[in-house]
Symmetry: C2
Subunit: 667 residues, 2 copies
């Protein structure tokens, strides 16, 4: 095959450009533009995982030409102007490619602004800990007592702790003699007394330093939640149990796909032309990306309290099953394909060095247990955090992020399912959707008569798009003001310039180009409405099927506990109005924030909490929604606003009665 | 400091020359010639560890000059001719250095010639094994059973073996899904059911392959003995217990010191100018050298039976404490310095990858337990192999290699000590001493009247030197024929041209220059005799002190069990005559060969044997000979031929009575 030169022109402030690579590369005929870009050190975002679905990798061919396999999401005039989807176009001659200004993926560190107050569990003492710090003074060796160093240390520790014997790694044994003699046989040891998979007879020496460390000095651990979108990390002093720093950052894998399915597809790619030293394809690339995120968060958190990351001796990690597999570099294609099984739900405790976490080299990493392909450790952990597993009344727990997982139960039983809601509520698959960052419309109201909107923008400036909570509000408002009917169809007879026929059919203009940050109209289209309705229908159908399967009416759930970052922003009233959440009184909803990281924190602190998560994962009955037709039926019934069966939403029914416009197309 | 060029001229057949480095290097003033040589890729042998004691690194300065810190072991005319000890001379100007033809260190692979017949222990069955192979057929996953792969495999193995749960490494988990699906969910697992440090609750998946491996296919293990001089390796089929290959090779560390003390000193060196990529000094260099020897033996043994080294799942290793520390890269200076303690006697079972053994990456390495700095795992292992620990009568076990270790006891008690015999019996510290290889005189007889010798040379050709068994015979013959007296002094009044005054005082000529391979006379000097007498006295003193300490006369020991390669070659009669071995009837001596590797083999096969070694190491009472004066007194008394107290050697006394020449200088 012939080689061609590919020259990249990069808009000066394009963010993802590496400064170390030349912008011209030579590649063989048939090379994907994304591959060529990567060779040139240019990181093109591919939220859909390089499937040509999202249109985010559009580039402009300004010299030569490429062959376009697909032009989905490109307008005719775009193609005429030379635009091509980098992930769908191959090089067939020498070309010059201009990278347009990409939407910058903002780093949103959870600083003091979003850190939440965490109280140490009542009655916590370091005795609940598996990591134990012990200061000992050894008798020096002499000709009357020639005991070897390691036995001598074990004896001294045995006298002080009662632990009969310890295991130890070779690297630590190598340093042992020097450490013992450095401060006249006075040392401080950190011992892992037990782990969940070896509850007894498995004490291990984790760290040994010369001299006596003061009792009040912190002993560090970290609790981590790997979300598909955001990774959160809490730095914890295991002696007091106090959370000393909370940090969060976008998962570095985002540029390789926004949802778990895109990530799995990306992970299966063999990037032979990959510039990565590993050359092992997408799986290793994704693993390295999330490790980079975690290790950078670790460094940030430690810096904040002047701790050395290498002094962190223990990590607990929660996350959905795909995130856990990707973190560990375990192939996860089987999660995506029927019969949807994971490689592993209950992971053994792993050495930090094997995982790639830059904590203490002898530190242990406890990846919390999941239940199924789409009900992962984030949910086991979330259930613990919510207390659902110990509740007397029946409760509903939901975690809506990129996917929607639901748990119904109490101390007697736990049933769970996952609904493929898709990432619509995270702003993906919606023309002007975006994440909840600066410039996002997060709340919308539409005037019932003029159909003019008012809205609130995060950061207060000009709007760039609409985030999840904004989309829920927008959908509810469009519906309640009669812009769309119960099945989501636009009323084209309204006398509003904002309702119009656009490129993709009917749409509503929220912000005119002149007032937007992008210089284009910000709209919500018929297609967007459809996507949002499918997402909310999937979640509501999950509720109803789960209740049916366990033979309990949904109304019996006394509380609806909402975990995940999604819960932090949404307006419950609007969510009920569109039929996303069941129609319950205000006080039955409880927002718990990131229950996954909180569960990981509890498991980090207390071996009893860790055992309880294992118990929860073991007790949860997983209902596979695709196993029969009931989910499809429930989903179809929920594809109306708020639902086919209006009697399920009495408060919405009452609101509509006051404003009968939108009952025009009743089922 | 100024830089100087060092140019090396190498005699064409000098063996240790690397072909990849240029023979000229530039080094700063003050650089040791050995360092410069290493930078030039020339490996100068340093049997004494670079201490200037052995004289083996002598080089000729043929241009420029060096500063000699010491010229020990060099003759005046050698120095005049430009000779210098490379380890004791530093570069101070541009120099040209000629490397003389070095004694080649022959590689003596134990092939069929030296392989010994090993019978599988009676009643051995694979149930004694900690490694277990299991073929299983799993139920494929489907929508009715979405159990994760790892739980599915564990369930199937549980049904077949009763093992409740397994641990597994991350690398194996990564390959799990693929292996299960490769041959329709038919797989063969290798499970380590238990290890000595985790006798229960610690089953681990070691290997998993797709399809069903036939029951009779071998499952490989290796037993290894790391001697200071020789490393032995047995390749074993764990299913049948049969030893399928036996190989041995010189320990690659020999060129860095012949005895453990030289090795320890070498291990402490920081070779900043080391050409090794590690740059971490002598310890890592020595570790790498022995690993290279072991891995090469492993490859040789596996090749012989067409096995893949990566299919070896288990290794047991015996060796003295210094060898064990060096293998694992554990600093061992404390072994050499009072109060002589090791870093560790009882090592945990270690992963092969951590040790650096090129067996299966999930294979385990069990380094057998030692007792003290100078009574290592080779002795624990040897005691097991000898059966001493289970004997009714009292017995004496000895292993004389570079050091001499002695065990006295039976099933009731075990006492042990180590005598610093030095390497004289291995040919070191003796002017014409050499190892038992081609060209070595291994047996000598001296005519009582003419004092003319007859001798046998290994390989049958011309002699190059005298090996250990030859030296013992020579000493006995010199004594019995009156060439030397009971205190080792030469009788200069003999009418034999072979007894003369040489460079180092009185000496006896065994081979004239014309008949030797070297072209020089082969002699034994007064200094050599002295060294040999000190060595034999140290060992015999060990016997007597040990017997005294346990309060039993030495005569109570019914058998003398001799382990180690030393025992294979010596003539017991001669050894008794010089007072090296106690004066007992022929049938009380039993030669056991390499008891260390045989003990490692037994421990490899059977968890009960492994537990017994642990028990032996725990039961042995170590007597530190330097702790009081008794050893020194016993040593002094033994510095005569055969001993100060002739009544201890009645048969020798009888022989001398027939030939009273050598009673001239009675004590």
């Amino acid at each position: 095959m012939a080689d061609h030169s590919v020259h990249f022109d990069v808009t000066p402030d394009a963010t993802a450009l590496s400064e170390t690579h030349p912008p011209t590369v030579r590649v063989p005929t048939g090379t994907l533009v994304t591959e060529a870009a990567r060779l040139a050190g240019i990181d093109l975002g591919q939220p859909c995982g390089g499937q040509g679905r999202c249109g985010r990798c559009a580039v402009q061919v300004t010299g030569g030409d490429v062959r376009r396999r697909s032009t989905l999401r490109l307008k005719q005039e775009d193609v005429a102007a030379g635009y091509a989807l980098a992930c769908q176009s191959v090089v067939e001659s020498d070309v010059t490619i201009t990278i347009p200004l990409q939407e910058k993926i903002e780093r949103r560190l959870t600083t003091e602004r979003t850190a939440i107050e965490v109280s140490v569990p009542t009655g916590y003492s370091a005795a609940a800990q598996t990591m134990r710090r012990v200061a000992v003074q050894l008798q020096p060796a002499d000709m009357q007592d020639q005991t070897d160093d390691w036995s001598r240390l074990q004896s001294a520790l045995r006298r002080q702790t009662g632990i009969p014997s310890l295991s130890v790694s070779l690297p630590l044994l190598r340093r042992l003699g020097g450490i013992l003699r450095e401060q006249d046989w006075a040392v401080t040891a950190v011992i892992e007394t037990d782990t969940w998979d070896h509850p007894a007879d498995a004490a291990r020496l984790v760290d040994l330093v010369s001299g006596h460390v003061p009792d009040h000095a912190p002993l560090w651990g970290v609790a981590i939640d790997i979300g598909t979108t955001t990774v959160s990390l809490w730095l914890v002093d295991l002696i007091t149990g106090a959370v000393r720093a909370q940090v969060a950052e976008y998962n570095g894998q985002i540029s390789r796909g926004e949802d778990v399915i895109s990530r799995i597809i990306y992970s299966s790619k063999k990037n032979s032309a990959s510039p990565l030293p590993s050359g092992e394809g997408g799986l290793i690339e994704l693993r390295d990306l999330v490790l980079k995120t975690i290790n950078s968060l670790l460094a940030t958190a430690c810096k904040r309290v002047l701790a050395d990351p290498a002094s962190v001796v223990k990590a607990t990690i929660a996350g959905n099953s795909t995130m856990m597999h990707l973190l560990l570099g375990i192939p996860c294609e089987s999660i995506r394909l029927a019969p949807f099984v994971t490689a592993v739900n209950h992971l053994p405790v792993l050495p930090a060095t094997v995982v790639g976490l830059h904590i203490h080299p002898e530190g242990s990493v406890d990846c919390l247990p999941g239940v199924a392909s789409y009900v992962g450790a984030d949910i086991s952990s979330g259930v613990l955090s919510s207390g659902l597993d110990d509740a007397e009344p029946m409760m509903l727990f939901m975690d809506v992020g990129t996917n929607g997982e639901i748990v119904l139960g109490n101390r007697e039983f736990l049933a769970t399912c996952a609904c493929s809601a898709g990432p619509a509520f995270e702003g993906a698959g919606v023309q002007n959707g975006m994440r909840a960052t600066e410039g996002a419309i997060e709340e919308v109201w539409i005037n019932n008569d003029t159909h003019e909107p008012t809205f609130r923008v995060i950061g207060g400036g000009k709007a760039r798009g609409v985030c999840g909570s904004g989309l829920i509000a927008l959908l509810a408002e469009l519906f309640l003001t009669g812009v769309i009917d119960r099945s989501g169809h636009f009323n084209m007879n309204l006398s509003s310039v904002r309702v119009r026929r656009g490129e993709h059919g009917p749409e509503y203009v929220i912000v005119w180009a002149a007032d937007s940050q992008t210089g284009y109209d910000i709209v919500i289209t018929h297609v967007d409405v459809d996507n949002l309705m499918r997402a909310k229908a999937a979640i509501y159908a999950g509720f109803t099927v789960l209740a049916d399967k366990v033979g309990m009416p949904l109304e019996m759930a006394e509380q609806v506990l909402i975990g995940g970052s999604f819960g932090k922003y949404i307006n419950v009233e609007k969510a009920v109005e569109i039929g996303l959440l069941p129609d319950r009184s205000w006080d039955s909803f409880k927002f718990l924030g990131n229950t996954s990281v909180r569960g990981a924190y509890l498991a980090l602190l207390d071996r009893a909490a860790r055992a309880r998560i294992r118990d929860i994962a073991g007790r949860m009955t997983y209902i596979e929604l695709t196993a029969d037709n009931s989910f499809y039926e429930a989903f179809t019934s929920a594809l109306f606003l708020p639902h086919t069966d209006l009697s399920r939403f009495p408060t919405v029914q009452a609101a509509l009665a006051q404003n009968p416009k939108n009952l025009s197309k009743e089922e």
